[in-house]
């Protein structure tokens, strides 16, 4: 195998892309969903991946580059297997978001914006993730939300991730529904 990884979409993925194209009246709009598909598959959208997306959609590479670099969730370079996006924005800030960030930095021996040497973890300090009432919180690799974080909860999550066990989706019941049911 050569060092240069060949990036391609499978037949099934190409069929999926045809379905995505059918949702829009123009050929540009699939660029975001297809970048998402590519990132899902390859873990990032480095220039080579952007080229694949451009070729698949018959768009100029420069256009795909422009889009990929505008949106923060597309990884323009290789990231750790688990990207820990710690919210430090307004509500999380005042509820200890930075404490969680610094605790993670200390535990993993890296700073926000860096990746551990073994390639397992990256940490990022991010803007509001729309979970302000459940602060402090973080998201793992653009997917699972971990709410109401404490140092103990962070310990458990890290131990699990080291064993490649992702936290499950945490349903937070609507408090009004709960209160009423506990009263009646």
């Amino acid at each position: 195998m050569s060092n240069e990884q060949q990036y391609t979409f499978s037949k099934e993925e190409l069929a999926e892309i045809e379905k995505i194209k059918a949702k829009y009246p123009d050929k540009k709009p699939p660029v975001m969903p297809v970048l998402w598909m590519a990132q899902e598959k390859f873990g990032h959208v480095e220039p080579e991946v952007q080229r694949l997306v451009a070729e698949t959609l018959d768009l100029p590479e420069a256009h795909v580059y422009g889009v990929a670099t505008f949106y923060t969730q597309y990884y323009k370079e290789k990231m750790g297997k688990y990207v820990l996006d710690v919210c430090t924005c307004l509500s999380c800030q005042i509820c200890g978001g930075y404490d969680i960030l610094h605790y993670l930095e200390e535990k993993l021996g890296i700073k926000a914006g860096e990746t551990t040497e073994d390639g397992k973890f990256s940490i990022q300090s991010v803007e509001c993730l729309g979970a302000c009432g459940y602060a402090p919180m973080m998201q793992i690799t653009n997917d699972v939300y971990c709410n109401h974080l404490t140092k103990e909860k962070v310990d458990t999550i890290l131990d699990d991730l080291k064993k490649d066990k992702l936290p499950e989706f945490e349903q937070i019941p609507f408090p009004q529904h709960q209160n009423e049911s506990s009263k009646s």
Binding site: P25, K28, Y71, T72, Q73, G130, G133, Q139, F174
Partner: protein, 428 residues
């Protein structure tokens, strides 16, 4: 306020287990209103628009514009495609309500969108959801698939001859894409640069065609109005800003979370009764009523202030998204304001100089003050900068960045004075 909030039963997220499942939603009367509208002669697109207009349903995405009135701006159908872009970008710090609809009651939003689609002769609804909400995007896609399977979306809906498609589009991390013209650019597969207005979306929206943008919660209100009438709706909550609303409450209260109550709730009731008071029995120092861009109110300014457009304007703020951030007496407003400014600087798309450079300058100056290296004249400089930023840009992000600076400094000046050295000369 005509509704007693203590006996209020949630309407946007009713207490019905598994309501997100389509058969449960149908069993509880769901999609019946839609069927009635599509199949009875009593309803026309105009009559639906007029009912929503009369209900004074005000947009829940931030600006509070009358939804029916907005719909009436759509030009007469010309046989070509027309769109709704439903705004589920939900990225304004402090806001976390729309995703409750995706999780707990997606079909009410879908039904509302189809009714809106009928009223405006829409061909397709694009639902733009922020990319971080992957779990909720998946949940919502399932609801859309189920609605298609039951014939509520697609061709010939409920045998009425009306066709409508609904597509889910995921963002990828950019607050600016919540601004309506940026959202359309993003949907068109481009960088999310806001457009110069006019032309307005109703004239020239998605792919140059007539488009209406509404917030998710706004559209979820529509079935309620069409089922119960505009008079019923206007009897809920504040007279000039009626209806149920999802209050997303975060910060230093004992029970933060999303609560559904009528508009016009006293802020003090929301803090003390609904959210169980302040953590550790502390005093309220500041309340941001509707997302980070709305001016903060002082804890001693809250007497009688209600969560509706009029009451909040009088108090010196805005309803915004009703994403309330409650801060206790130990909060350092310098730190808070710096973090807010960091957000807007980070999220500026960079098209306009007053915004791109202005937000950077705001943040830089606040870092200086935070580090104890500021002077009193820096405070005046910040206020002056706000004046130079406000109203001079393509979109309202720049205003959203300036307001918190202006009002945090003027209302919490003592926090700032403590951190800065006295200037030998004040700024003229």
């Amino acid at each position: 306020m005509s509704t007693d909030w203590k006996s209020f039963q949630p309407l946007l997220i009713p207490k019905i287990p598994n309501l997100h499942k389509i058969d449960v939603y149908e069993k509880n009367g769901g999609y019946k209103t839609l069927k009635d509208i599509l199949t009875s002669k009593d309803h026309t697109p105009e009559s639906v628009t007029n009912t929503v207009k009369a209900a004074n349903l005000r947009g829940r995405g931030g600006a509070g514009f009358n939804a029916g009135l907005k719909w009436s701006f759509m030009p007469k159908p010309d046989g070509g495609p027309r769109y709704i872009a439903a705004n589920g970008d939900e990225s304004e710090p402090g806001t976390f309500k729309d995703r409750q609809i995706f999780e707990y009651n997606p079909h009410q939003f879908i039904e509302g969108s189809i009714i809106a689609g009928y009223a405006m002769d829409i061909t397709a609804v694009y639902v733009y959801i922020r990319g971080e909400y992957r779990s909720w995007i998946n949940m919502f896609q399932k609801a859309v698939d189920d609605a298609y399977a039951k014939g509520y979306l697609g061709k010939n809906i409920c045998n009425s001859g009306f066709d409508l498609d609904m597509y889910v589009h995921s963002g990828a991390g950019a607050y600016i894409c919540g601004e309506e013209s940026s959202l359309m650019e993003s949907l068109e597969g481009k960088r999310g640069y806001p457009r110069v207005k006019p032309p307005f979306p109703a004239q020239k929206g998605l792919w140059g065609r007539p488009t209406t943008i509404n917030n998710i919660e706004t559209l979820a209100n529509v079935p309620l109005i069409m089922k119960n009438g505009s008079e019923w709706y206007t009897s809920i909550g504040a007279k000039t800003h009626p209806g149920p609303v999802l209050y997303g409450i975060s910060g230093h209260v004992n029970k933060p979370g999303v609560y559904e109550y009528p508009t016009g709730m006293l802020i003090s009731d929301l803090i003390n009764e609904v959210c169980g008071g302040m953590r550790g029995g502390k005093k309220v120092k500041a309340v941001i009523p509707g997302g980070s861009s709305t001016p903060p109110l002082r804890g001693d300014q809250l007497d009688g202030v209600r969560m509706d457009a009029d009451s909040l304007r009088e108090a010196g703020s805005m309803m915004g998204t009703a994403g309330m951030v409650i801060m206790d007496e130990d909060t350092d407003m310098v730190d808070v304001l710096w973090r807010i400014s960091h957000f807007y600087h980070h999220e500026s798309c960079g098209q306009c100089t007053p915004c791109r450079d202005g937000t950077g300058f705001l943040e830089k100056t606040l870092i200086k003050i935070k580090n104890g290296e500021g002077e009193t004249r820096d405070l005046d400089l910040l206020l002056d900068l706000c004046t130079q930023i406000e109203g001079r840009t393509i979109c309202a992000l720049a205003d959203a960045a300036a307001w918190p600076v202006r009002y945090t400094i003027t209302r919490f000046r003592e926090d700032f004075e403590k951190r800065v050295k006295k200037s030998a000369f004040a700024l003229a």
